[in-house]
């Protein structure tokens, strides 16, 4: 039962990204071609509100349901890690037309092909940890 709330938030997430067409391959293609404002508007407005939320978290104005302070873990520094990892991710994002969240949402739409993409993503995550000691970070 304590996991039910995460199931509900996940369902909401799946519906929002579907209704906003964020899970469409075409919308990602269009974004990387800079031919529509749609995706930039989606991400931009999320971040604009997100910045506001982060400030409220830090000032302690918004706390968790259990009244604990909300801490957002910092991202790991390193130009190589972020730039190279980000570029590899971008190549895949544009080819698959889906990042990890949308992949699973599309699975719920019954796409068998997206199952292969998810399999690839799992192999990719596993492979990174197999070779990470040899990579610049």
């Amino acid at each position: 039962m304590r996991y039910l709330k995460f199931l509900l938030v996940g369902i909401l997430f799946g519906i929002i990204l579907s209704k906003g067409e964020v899970i469409s391959w075409y919308r990602i293609y269009e974004m990387f071609k800079f031919q529509s404002f749609h995706m930039f508007g989606v991400i931009g407005s999320t971040v604009a509100i997100g910045i506001f939320l982060m400030i409220l978290f830090k000032k302690g104005i918004i706390k968790t349901y259990w009244n604990d302070t909300i801490r957002v873990a910092p991202k790991r520094k390193g130009i190589s890690r972020n730039l190279l990892g980000g570029t590899i991710f971008g190549l895949g994002w544009a080819l698959a037309g889906a990042c990890p969240g949308p992949m699973f949402i599309l699975l719920g739409r019954g796409s068998i092909a997206i199952g292969i993409v998810i399999l690839g993503a799992l192999i990719g995550a596993f492979s990174y940890h197999s070779v990470k000691s040899k990579l610049p970070h």
């Binding site: 906003g20 349901y65 991202k75 990892g85 590899i88 994002w93 544009a94 995550a125």
Partner: protein, 185 residues
Amino acid sequence: MEFLFQPWPWYITGPLIALILFLLYYLGKSFGVSSNLETLCALGGAGNFLEYFKFDWKKNSWNLVFLVGAVLGGFISYQWLTPNEAIALSAATIQDLSTLGFENIGTSFLPDEIFSIDSLLTVKGFFILLIAGFLVGFGARYAGGCTSGHAIVGLSNLEFPSLISVIGFFIGGVFMTWIILPILF
């Protein structure tokens, strides 16, 4: 009710994604989808091959439950909330894709040229899907986050590493879209 069956514009979708961000932190968790890939590897027994995956995947089970919810959300919207998948793409996008030989552009969420069973059953089509996924999984874990962790949470938190990652997302995405896709199709 009519609103539920129409595509949602960016100014509805974006703020609602911010609501997801809020809810996850309010519930004492974080927003990051790609870490689930590692949890699924650990769950699948990857710990037998790599020391790294011997972590206790159960501590991330809330995030797997969130992911199962996302699958259900996709199913619900597909079954009951999307009577018509047609996407109002820009004329330039339709023009560019028809030059590449794509058909039925924007009539559904996914192009048949990549996602149909017929494409999947060709060697080229199969490897396009597998490699696309591989790049996403490898890159997301190398960079330490995907669109949710870096582009949304990281940028919102004014994290410099996330800005570098998002610049990387666009370097890779633009290169794939402008240079490699025209070679593949």
